[in-house]
Every structure is written in C-alpha cells, then in structure tokens.
Homo-oligomer: 341 residues x 3
C-alpha cells in the first residue's frame, strides 16, 4: 500500500518540467521539449506504431492437463509463445493489451486471496515508464475484461548521448498472474519473444522462439512427439523448426522458470555476440570473440543465435537440445530440419 | 601436513634471486630488481596504502537466528557485506586483518575438530602471493586474537608485458571459517565487494554491492521487509538502494553459496562488458557487444553493472530481483528507488 | 524408424549437384566443385590427416566401483578424459573409431532394451555431416566390434565467405551408449577435449583438460586424493596439474552431466575471450573485455583459459576448484602446482 501510493506520488512529481544532465556520462535525460511524461519514456514523443494484443485462455495442455494461456494479435490466434515482436532502434510502439482471460481462471491460478486478479505485459530490454512496468506495485496491470496500453521505446544507440541502445534479443511476459512475479502466468504460457534490430542489421530468412523452461520443456512442450514436422514437407512453426540449406535463421532463446538449461544445436555454431554473427572485420575483435555451440541460460536470460542452415554440413535432422543430460533424456530436445533449398 | 610443509619449501625457494622470462607471452615475471618476494607479488615493491580490517561477531540474524560475522574498517562499523574496497590499476594495498571473532564462535562453526580455528582474507582478481592466499594449506589465516597483513596488487594492463590487467568487479571473503573453503564464514557474512578501476574510467555517483546467495537472499537478507528505504526520503545503504534520475550508479554483483541466480533490474539495461558500459565508438565492437538486463551468475562469479538511473524511463520503484521464479516468489527481490534529482 | 529413413532420403538428395548461395549472408555453401558429399563437409575435399581412436573398457572406478570406459589412440593408452585433440583452422581430420567395448558391458549400460548397442563420436564446434553426427537417428554409430570413420572439418574464418571460423575450445563425446544422448557413455568416461587453433595463435607450453561433472568430480575424480603429484617433483598429467613459473598453460574446461559448476583458480585470472588472452591492442576492445577468475559452466559448455603460471604471484600450490561451496566442500577441487622453472 505505502509502496504503491508513494510510487504514485513519485510519478506525479515526474510529470513536471525537468531538465537533467549528467556530467559524468554526458547523458541528456530530458526529452526534446525537456518535458517528461509519466506514460511515455523520454525520446518517444508519439508512438510510431500501435498494435492490439489479447490475453486469452487456451485449451489445457494435452499431456499434463495444466491451464494454458496465450497472447495473440487476435483472440483466435493466441498461442504460447505469443506473437514474436520485432522493433527497430528508434521506434516507439504502443501495445493495447486486452484481458480476455476468465476471472475464474485467474482466481484459480492465484496463490494468495489478497492478490489482485489481472494480466500484464512486462518487457525486457526496451524502455518504458513505471506505468508500462506491468507490475502490481506500480498498478500497471489489466483487470479481467479491461484493456491497458503499454508503451515501449527501442532507444537507439547514440555516441552523442552515450546511449548503448536497445538492439537485442528480448522477451515479454506477464508479471501479475498468480503472484507479484507472474510465475503462474509465465508457467501457463503468457510469454513471447522480442527482437530489436539496429539500422543496417541483416534480416534473417526465418525466426524461431525457443523458450527453455521447467519440466524439461521447450516452449512448454516436451519430447519429439511435440514436433509436428512432416519430414518430407516440413511446414515451419513453433513446433516445427525447419530451414532450407543456406537460409539465415535466427533463434530467440529464452530462459523460463526455475532451472538452468543449455541451448545446443548439432552441426552449427555461432559467435557469442549480440547477433550470433561477427560483424565487421577487425582482427583483434574477431580473434577475441568466442565461437560456441552450447550456451547456458538461467531464468530471465535471453539471447539471439543466427546461423546459416546447413553451412558446410549440409541437410539433415539436426538435434537441438538442452545438454543437461537428464533434461535431454527426459525429452528436452527437438530437431532442426534442414532440407535442400 | 605434507602439502603444507612442501608449500613452505617452495616459498623458500621462491625467495632467492630469479630472473624468468617467457618468449611466448613476452612476460617478464621478475620484479624491477629481479628479486621475488614471498610476501609481495612482483610489481609491488612497497604498499602504496595500508588499511586495517576487523573481523567481528555481529548480532544474530533477526529472522533465522543464524550466527552473523562481519568485516569492518573498525570493529564498530563491521557489517555484511563488509566495506566496499576500491583500487586503481597499479596500486598495491596492504590490509592488516585483526581476528576479533570469539574463539568459541569459530569453534561452533567448525565442521571438523581437527580443522584450525581462524579467519582469513581471500580475494578475487588482484595479485597476491601464497602468503596472502587466505587458505589453510598455505598457512595464511589469522588465529583468534591475532593479526595478519595481506598484500594485494592491482597489476596494471600493459601492452609491453602482455598483462591484461586486473581492472574489474571482484570480491573478497573468508576461506577458513568452518572448513577449508570458508563455507561457514561466507555464510555468516564474511565477504565484501572490490572494484579495481583502470586509469581513465568514469567514476560512478554511487556504488552498491548485491550478493546473491542461498535461501533466496540478497546480502543475506530476504524479502522487501529488509528494505529500509523511507520512500519519501530514502537514505542510501546496503538495505536501501536509491539513486537520483541521471546519476551513474554501479552494482558489484556477487554470487555466493550453492545456487544459480540471475540479476535483473526493471527499466534498465547494460552492456555485457567490463563496466556495463560500451567504451569508445568502434562500430564493429559496439555492434558485437550484447546489451542485457538479466545476467546469470554462479557461486564465485562477480561482475559490474553501471547504469544511468532512470535513463529514459524516469523515476520509480524499479524491481531488482532474481528471475528464478521460485526465488523471487520466496522474496529474493528488492527495489531500486529512483527519485527526481 | 520413420525419422531415420527420411534422414536417409534427405542425405540421398544431398548427394546431387547443388550450387546454393545466400544473398543475405553472402555465403557460398557449395564446395569448390559445387559438389556436396554426404560423408565430408563442404570445404573438406580430402582429409589432411587420418587417426585411429579406440573405445575400450577400463578398470572400474576405484572409489565408486562404476563402469569406466575410455577413448585412446591405442587400446592400451585409453583413458578418461580421452586424448586431447588439436586441429588448426582449415584442417580436415578423419578419425576411425574402433568399438572394442564388450557387448555385455554396453548391454549393462543400456536403459531401454530396444536401444541399439554401440559407441559413437560426437564433436562440438567443428563441421561434420549427418554421417559423422554420432547419433542413433542418423545411424552414425559403431556397433560392438566394428569401426567407423568420422570426418571433422575445422572450417577457417573467412571475411570473404562470412564464415566466423571454428577456432575454439571444444570437446568430443559418445552420444549413443545407454540412450539417445549417450548419458551413460559420458558418465563412464567417453569424452575428451579438442582445441582448434587459428593461424598465428600462440602455442601454450602445456594443455590440461578439466571436465567438471556430477558427484562433485573433475575428470570423474573427486577430492585431492585423486591428485598424484609428487610435491617435490610433480609429473604433469590428468591427475597432476603442474607448471613452471612463467609457462603459458591452457585449460580446456568442459561441463558434463546435470549440474552447474564454476571454474576458479587462485592467484590467476584470464580475459573472457576465445583464448583467455586479450589479442591485439585496440583500446576500446581491451577496455570492454571482462577479466575474470571464476566462470560458470553448464553441461555441454566448454571454454579455454590461458594463463601465465605464477605471473606476478610466484610459485605455490594454487587451488583450482568449483566455487559452489558444497561442491568444493565435498572435494571438487584440485591443485595447480606452480614451481620455479
């Protein structure tokens, strides 16, 4: 209570005219007009784009019977993971989240009776004010049947301001369902990938999200039985990772839940950089960068891996798995199907 | 025994005149005079600075009743974490540790009767000889009521010698209390942060230590109840993380104990570099460096995160937590209070 | 079955003439002749070198009584870890694996009766086709008493093709014994280190493999009792880590099994780069690279650490351990014995 109300007061204070500068970092924190908004992060005068996002209940997990929720651009297309978002540095995005999850379902997921019912949108990496934090203490969540607009700003890198930018491989998720950290919302499926590109970044031919989570799951699914690929004519999707030889594909790799996992692909490797590729041709840089084919991630971590499908190794059913042995033995693996173009 | 005595012999050997050079690395290992000291690492002829450090017993943990120990510049100011140490590359520091922890307390923490009673000072990242290792087998610990001087050398980076320097975010801790790895000393509070800066590094406005440890604790404390901030007029300290909008703050993040944790702050991100900032303006470098807002750390890991408080996002009560869901649900989170300057 | 047969068909398709290019990445995936082979990765027309590798059963673990298997260049020299492989970028290596492990032993390790009996060779980091994948579904394993040749290609970095190369610290291991992920083969000792160097890399004076695995083991051994060093005259080997002051030594650090571990050495640190050293002298690069002395690794991870033994700190018995406290307390530590040259 005290926390929440004082947060309100702080944000009120924040709404007045301020011009702040830091000698040290040489950063100008005020917006162009020197005006700070409680709704929009500095640098985002107006959203460049507006989209709708729906939180809905989906059929229960066919294997475990657990409740499943999903985000979707429309209620009918909601899924877990939710739609993959893409932004470019400099862009400001307004997302209106509509909570269509039945109140009874939210009540069922609640771990404490005093905890409010609602869903939210919390995002990693990009900029947002407290009003877009997607948390209970900031009051930035959506009660059942209601809507709320969240504003994300992909702040660009700028040598002038010292900003290092927001380009990267991120994710968004609920932070409210069940408890103050959204553990039940996350566990039910309210998460998705976000990639922020930098001007000049090479676009991949395909993008896949692989969220490594509890119970030895990838995208909340376990074992190759979850792989829906027709081996003769695979159709790409969250349960069918496929590519043609030579295509540049990227994975948005996300860590969920309570455990350590590792992301490993057979036959392919990547540079441990922002994109998985080595940019430019600076010898000291290139010689310093590790190239890897297995990367550990804890809950909340996310990174991007870009590879050229079948590069030098050709087509095949390449295993993609967690290298924690008991996890892969329990079914925490799928296949990257690389076919001739 | 054999190990310890032979260590003694080795160090005796080490005390004689030697001039060693490595063709490969081009490193000159001998000091200016070509003399190697058993007490002081090569490059540290004389300490540039001498400080006192006291290990004392503190009141038991108010919640768990566990024994608490702390390091302090004076016995009265001992705390957990201990005082944050700061060095600059090239500096040599002599620290005299006074063991004022009651012998009975050390005996209580001891896991094996034959294990010696004492406390020590083991440090990460900087250079020290075996006599400053802070371990049992090297005999470099402090029995109850006694004192011992440890010498740390922040070896500078040098293209000439090939030394990559010691600038970084490190920590120091006991390595003797209870057993040969100091597990009981660490668990009781005998640890602190160390930052070694490089000539030209920008100084932050504030520095905080956040040690992520067992039982879902940050600095051995759990849940927001440990947060002592007055929300209207927060006073900075180990249990009150606050900053004014635009201030450059740094966190020395430390992993303790037995578990994986992740360090996550809402609304803020950093570059995965030595300082958390991107230095210089080399495009290939800048484009290669990942910017992150969540970083996994295992026990013993430490890293630094520099951020500009409220940059673009403004003031607010920004959550700082472990993203392992059951950890945050159990109270492994605190708040970075960002207020208007 | 279906998976395997369709893999077969895919590889058949792969054998025909193809010339594939990617506009995006500017990569030419076809070999010089534009011919893709099912046996050899693009770029490897003919192996530059051919070696033999034997998989054999070794005496059971003296402490736990567990079955032990090893790879060796000859049956008599098999060990765990297996022989450390070294390649240089551009090299193509053909390894003929002879399975001399008794069928009864493999049957004993099998977790499901329908699982085939055999051993295999799966490698990280370098390039290989599905026929050298070392997995069951690709049929690339070796039944008892039989042999099979695996082809590895250390694809070189090339600015022209955009290839980032394969130089790095990798490992190889069985992927078939017991189950489809080789968990029982790995646990029994079928693994080894691989280092791929880049033209111009400085060669170390000594190389050691330290595989951090389950049951608090390093190279499947636990506690200093496993250390066979004569402290007065240490002979280097997998159970005796020693170096002379000033020698450049490297560790190939591997994560095995099911747990998080951290690699920590007393008195020494390294740059978190491909080699552990900072290459070149680019100030922004150098200032960005973290220098560390403790690194977390999950199963499947591998990295290289190059250090100058005793640099500035002199000789001594330097602890090398997992910093997870209960692991080091349980004996997950050894010693790097640094003696005068």
């Amino acid at each position: 209570m005290d926390r929440k109300s004082s947060a309100g007061r702080l944000l009120l204070v924040a709404a007045v005219l301020v011009v702040t500068t830091v000698g040290a970092g040489g950063l100008a924190l005020a917006g162009k007009a020197g005006e700070r908004s409680a709704e929009k992060p500095d640098g985002c005068a107006q959203p460049d784009r507006r989209i709708q996002l729906y939180a809905v209940e989906l059929p229960r997990d066919p294997v475990t019977g657990q409740i499943r929720l999903g985000y979707g651009s429309t209620p009918d297309t909601a899924s877990y993971p939710g739609p993959t978002m893409e932004m470019i540095e400099g862009e400001c995005l307004a997302i209106t989240l509509h909570n269509q999850v039945p109140e009874a379902t939210l009540a069922q997921l609640r771990v404490a009776p005093e905890h409010p019912l609602g869903v939210s949108l919390h995002v990693h990496g990009v900029k947002y004010t407290q009003l877009s934090d997607g948390t209970v203490h900031s009051g930035s969540y959506v009660p059942p049947g209601q809507s709320r607009t969240y504003t994300w700003y992909a702040k660009p890198r700028s040598a002038a301001t010292g900003s290092q930018g927001t380009a990267g491989y991120w994710w968004y998720h609920d932070h409210v369902v069940g408890g103050p950290h959204g553990t039940q919302g996350l566990g039910a499926g309210l998460f998705g990938g976000l990639v922020v590109r930098r001007q000049g970044d090479t676009r991949p031919d395909r993008t896949y999200v692989t969220a490594f989570g509890d119970r030895q799951t990838i995208n909340l699914r376990r074992s190759p039985e979850a792989d829906t690929c027709d081996h003769m004519n695979p159709q790409p999707g969250p349960t069918c990772l496929m590519a043609k030889v030579g295509e540049r594909i990227e994975f948005i790799v996300i860590g969920l839940g309570n455990e350590l996992h590792t992301f490993h692909i057979h036959g392919h490797s990547w540079a441990d950089t922002r994109t998985g590729m080595v940019e430019g041709n600076s010898k000291p840089l290139v010689d310093s960068i590790p190239v890897i084919d297995n990367k550990s991630l804890g809950p909340g971590d996310s990174f991007g891996v870009q590879i050229i499908a079948g590069d030098s190794v050709g087509p095949g059913h390449w295993m993609l798995h967690c290298h924690m042995q008991f996890h892969s033995d329990a079914g925490m693996y799928t296949t990257l199907h690389v076919i001739e173009g």
